[in-house]
Amino acid sequence: MSSAIEVSGLRKAFGDKVVLDGIDLVVEAGTVFSLLGPNGAGKTTTVNVLATLMAADGGSVRVAGHDVAAETKAVRATIGVTGQFAAVDELLTGQENLQLMADLHRVADGRQVIGRLLERFDLVEAGPKLVNSYSGGMRRKLDLAMTLVGDPSIIFLDEPTTGLDPRSRRTMWDIIRELLAEGVTIFLTTQYLEEADQLADRVAVLDQGRIVAQGTPDELKRQAPGSHVRLRFAGPGDLEAAARLFAGSTRDDEALTLRVPGDGGTEPVRILLNQLHDNALHAEDFSVHTPDLDDVFLALTGRPNAEVVTK
């Protein structure tokens, strides 16, 4: 099995509101696939359909080689889902939550599995405490630990780091990378561009129920015309001269900087530096900017999206 998830023509509407308008995607086994999009793009709905929690209106969805509608049980046996809101039992302790999962999965050596998971997620001390005393980060960790009790080969993570502080987010990223190293396939949704960039092998940008771009983070970044060289000059005179020299550049008189578009390669930069030299112009500061996924989103959807957070 090389592809863990295959989706084609997936459609879903709530009443007359179309949420998913024909989604096609393929996730290779043992990779991280990230669905990136703003709130309301349809990310959670996609996860719900793929994870058998919701029926599609149209299209076909195969997870681990099984059709989610016809072979729901077989799909459920291989997947784990960690939703946007920590699906933990507040009135049980962390340990009891894991025990509940071990019981439901009929795990034979439950105690050992639980002990290992508590250790791995740094919850040994918190284990015997009631979950309603846990912080947001601890809940997310417990939630993911509960998902892992059943040893799933495909894991759906719906916005796993939304609302977490930067440190907890790093911890979560490390855990996701570890899972990947163990050969687990991960389907991740996020509204954080950096997260998709950091973790994903492939990214699909979802906007208003349609996938507007798909590829590796680098491929996507190349689609955005955001690569440029930034020069800062000592005085307005030099800036003026440089701006005349480089057609298509944009200047910022206050910061005394000039933005010269490039294509990401080294050759245009060499030419640019030579031109500066030939004209006896001297830049105080020089930097090359490659586009991030923010620029990509802007380029793909044609609108800056306030809901997409660059953090």
């Binding site: 058998t52 809101f85 507040e90 009135l91 509940l100 999962m101 439901l104």
Partner: protein, 246 residues
């Protein structure tokens, strides 16, 4: 261990760890019993010792007071992510729901036992034999089972945990408009007819007959029919709502 047993254990832990649930389900009915029997009892003229009259009704009241915990627990499961986890793990909806039903029945049994214990302490005497008591136990179980399914449905239908708590208020009030506290024929016009024909009255009258050692087949058939009907409606409503929501 079946999924239902695992779920039952989970729900029992919830009940035990939530002092409000324990108070509402077990202690509050006892407090009401002390109020009506010990404090006000001598003022009621029902033609027999008031404790003997009131005990069957208070047993039913104890069942009803245990229900608000169930509907809120069900609603809380539904509004939090945990239900999706169970669903994605292929835990049957039967196990999730019947876990709540059996927890309710267990809590109800404890509450009813407490009421009977306090009743004896207050001077309750029963002329019923072993078989009569067995009949009482059976009817308590059946009533609790039926009411629990209806309550699970109310919890599933509620949009919020708070709403689910409010949804059981009519069930908690219903015993007061039956022959539980005073005979129906002592009530005002309108209420009297309502009390005579509502389901709790035949259930209470059947228990009263059994405890007095004078069971009546007529009320017993009506009581069982009501229970079966309520259980069926509750079960069908629950499964339909669960399918729609989860």
């Amino acid at each position: 261990m079946t999924d239902s047993v695992i779920m039952l254990r989970r729900n029992v832990k919830h009940v035990v760890r939530n002092p409000t649930t324990v108070f509402n389900a077990v202690l509050f009915p006892v407090v009401i019993m002390l109020m009506f029997v010990y404090v006000l009892g001598d003022a009621f003229n029902v033609g027999e010792d008031y404790v003997d009259y009131a005990t069957p009704g208070l047993m039913l009241l104890a069942i009803c007071y245990g229900l608000s915990g169930t509907s809120t627990a069900v609603a809380s499961d539904m509004t939090k992510g945990i239900i999706n986890r169970f669903k994605a793990m292929d835990v049957s909806r039967g196990a999730v729901l019947s876990g709540h039903v059996s927890t309710t029945v267990a809590t109800n049994l404890i509450a009813v036992a407490a009421i009977v214990g306090v009743a004896f302490a207050l001077g309750f005497r029963s002329a019923g034999g072993f078989l009569d008591w067995l009949g009482v136990l059976g009817l308590v179980l059946l009533t609790s089972f039926a009411a629990a399914w209806l309550t699970v449905a109310l919890g599933l239908a509620a949009k919020s945990v708070e709403g689910a708590g409010i949804a059981t208020v009519p069930l908690i009030m219903l015993p007061f408009f039956s022959s539980a506290i005073v005979p129906a024929d002592k009530m005002g016009p309108g209420i009297k007819q309502f009390a005579e024909y509502q389901p709790f009255t035949p259930i209470i009258e059947t228990m009263r007959g059994l405890l007095n050692g004078t069971p009546s087949a007529g009320t017993a058939i009506a009581a069982v029919a009501w229970c079966v009907g309520i259980a069926l409606v509750g079960y069908l409503w629950s499964t339909a709502t669960f399918k729609k929501r989860a």
